[in-house]
């Protein structure tokens, strides 16, 4: 019995290896021959730590593919691989897209760490990649083949510092999550911008860090209360944010509390309840104030597609949609499926009207966006306050 079973398992392994090989031959034949399909790889975390965000982004990309299924008269096929929010897995997933599936371009990934890990492989293979929501500057830094559709943490930090100043804040306290590149990056850029704008080194009265999975912020907040800042900036995840907000209000801290794009999540309002009223956050996109024509059609179309699955359109879905359109647009202008040609076409993108604003690329390959949306919470809803333009 044992012997039979193990032989059987071996057989399965061997057979599946062979099926893998035959598949590969087919695809390589396709790439060389007269194929009528253009393959775009999508690598996203569909399971693991960032699975939720990855799926939202993927939905946006899939919807874009549904809306614009063709380029150069050929059908676009999305090849989707899961990177399990894990770096080792991410590098094999991307290599697989490039070597086995022979994709012409890659979109992804949610989470900067996996994108950075994939960066060198993409660079060496000369296949252009378009990140949707990876905001860490290191993703595109020194990598001419990696682009991204979102704005960066430095920009977002600057936007919030600007906004705080406009509201008359003279001093600020910053709370960051130790061990989280997003939170630490954004917090530091806010500090730099705020100091620069106020011209006062002492304008940041307190900088505190908390650990992952901390739930009690009373020590940090009591300390901040004693320093009495005009505003608190606390970039953090959607699970931590409501805890900070609730505990701050419970301690009697009255000043505005601000956060980054991760706060635009119904969970924040659900958990923080009435305390969430008046929090301020910046985000990529607002469905009530479409920035471009493309955005208007996207909002109505995607709302119908979601059919009430989610109360608001997730910003990452809009970014995924934009990333797809940018790649498709570049392939069209390049007129070929050659990696370098597409890369040059992406770099030459001029005033592209996406859902999240007008997009140009900087030399580093980052979207040179000039708008960010500021939102607040009123009566248990995210409400649009302002679209800020920073130059």
């Amino acid at each position: 019995m044992k012997r039979l079973l193990s032989l059987f398992l071996c057989l399965i392994m061997v057979i599946s290896l062979f099926t893998g090989c035959t598949k590969k031959e087919e695809t390589s034949g396709d790439a060389a021959g007269s194929s009528d399909v253009i393959k775009i790889g999508v690598f996203e975390p569909l399971t693991g730590e960032n699975g939720g965000g990855g799926l939202q982004e993927l939905d946006g990309i899939k919807y874009a593919n549904k809306m614009y299924p063709e380029v150069l008269g050929k059908k676009i096929e999305l090849v989707i691989v899961d990177n399990k929010s894990d770096k080792g897995e991410a590098t094999t997933a991307v290599t697989r897209l490039i070597e086995k599936d022979k994709v012409v371009a890659i979109i992804g990934s949610y989470g900067s760490g996996v994108s950075i890990a994939a960066g060198d492989i993409i660079k060496n293979a000369k296949i252009p990649a378009m990140g949707a929501s990876c905001t860490n500057p290191m993703v595109t830094q020194g990598n001419e083949f990696y682009f991204r559709a979102c704005f960066l943490d430095p920009f977002q930090g600057r936007v919030m510092a600007n906004y705080a100043l406009q509201q008359g804040a003279k001093t600020a306290a910053v709370i960051m999550q130790n061990g989280d590149d997003y939170s630490v990056g954004l917090g530091n850029f806010f500090i730099d911008a705020f100091k620069e704008l106020t011209g006062d080194e002492k304008s940041i009265v307190d900088v505190s860090e908390f650990q992952v999975n901390d739930t009690d912020f009373n020590a940090i907040l009591t300390n901040i209360k004693a320093k009495n800042p005009d505003v608190i900036f606390a970039p953090s995840s959607a699970t931590t944010a409501p805890l900070i907000i609730k505990q701050a209000r419970a301690l009697g801290i009255e000043c505005p509390i601000m956060g980054g794009d991760t706060w635009e999540n119904p969970a924040v309002i659900d958990v923080a309840g009435d305390d969430a009223e008046g929090i301020v956050l910046s985000t990529f996109f607002d469905e009530n104030d479409p920035a471009t024509e493309e955005a208007k059609t996207f909002v109505t179309g995607y709302k119908a597609e979601l059919a009430g699955k989610e109360p608001i359109i997730p910003a990452v879905a809009a970014l995924g949609y934009d990333a797809y359109l940018l790649v498709r647009n570049a392939i069209e202008r390049a007129g070929s499926t050659d990696g370098v040609a597409i890369r040059n076409a992406i770099a030459a993108t001029k005033d592209f009207e996406g859902v999240t604003g007008v997009i140009n690329f900087t030399e580093e390959g980052d979207a040179d966006k000039n708008i960010a949306v500021i939102k607040t919470v009123k009566d248990g809803q995210f409400v649009y306050i302002d679209t800020v333009e920073v130059k």
């Binding site: 080792g88 950075i116 590149d181």
Partner: protein
Amino acid sequence: MMKIEKKENNLLKNAVLILIFAAIIVLLDLDIIGDNYVRRVLNLAAIYAIVSVSMNLVNGFTGLFSLGQAGFMAIGAYTVAVFTVPVEARKAIFYIVPQSPLVANIELPFFVALILGGLLAALVAILIGMPVLRLKSDYLAIATLGFSEIIRIVFTNMKTITNGALGIKSIPQMPTMWVFFGAMIISVILIVLLINSSYGRAFKAIREDDIAAEAMGINLFKHKVLSFAIGAFFAGIGGGLLASLLGTVDPKQFYFTMTYNFLLIIVLGGMGSISGTVIASFVVTVGLEVLRFFDDSLVLFGYEVPIFRAGFRMVIFSILLMILVLFFRNGLMGQKELSWKMVGDFFNGKKSPKNNRKGGAA
């Protein structure tokens, strides 16, 4: 007479087998067969084999239930990352807090940094092992698990050296597979030699019964620390190779869950079997990639089968593991090593003698 002939025969078979494997790697390395994808998966499997064998030395051969492997790998990985990234690239990486002048201008060759990483891991293992190795079974597991988390948090907070949560990128890549496979072969040979030496016999004696071992005159403490430190050294080497293969490190990579990958491999391969561990490393790493087609959506007769979606391969993988653990209680190899006799018996249908020792899955 017969016996000698048979031995020579086996030697010949071994030589042929080794030549075949070497030839495959050479062909892969020269880009004659396979592609980057295959190479990357195999490199990853080789690294996993190094770390798993080192973990098996501690857990399977010395009987210390240690779960600190991720922490030791982090030490090796960060040593390679900090010392091999080109000096001119560092300013761009450390864009929030500049790198401490202590290490900012030191750039070491890859192999020096790799060995240094292993030695640092071993040193830390000795320091941590002295108090912790007085604990037994579950308590030791908890203490080492906690230790690997401490390492990770220390690295998160040493911002001027490790760049904290932002991680380090641009770690130089190795041009050939031989770096990974060479390291694997050397590590495995060294550990096999160690296990067959008098030290190795002492380790096994401690595993079977430490009171009896002590009564026989084995210095328990010395041998436990030795095994722990050597295990940590090779885990550090594995971590350094991983950093070079991925080209980037950050503290989140080294969560304690990473150790479970290696625990899975040694339980699957057989606690106390080196060849089993190496085989299991390759089966698990390659198997996970082979199963990827379960993640794609499958359309049968125009109907999309709903269970074929992202994450499904992990379900299949778990089911296969359960089958293996149910029918091979001691892992693929138990405490035995792969031999020609075993392969022959398997195909001739001879029952191998029942393994009565307790070993295997805990």
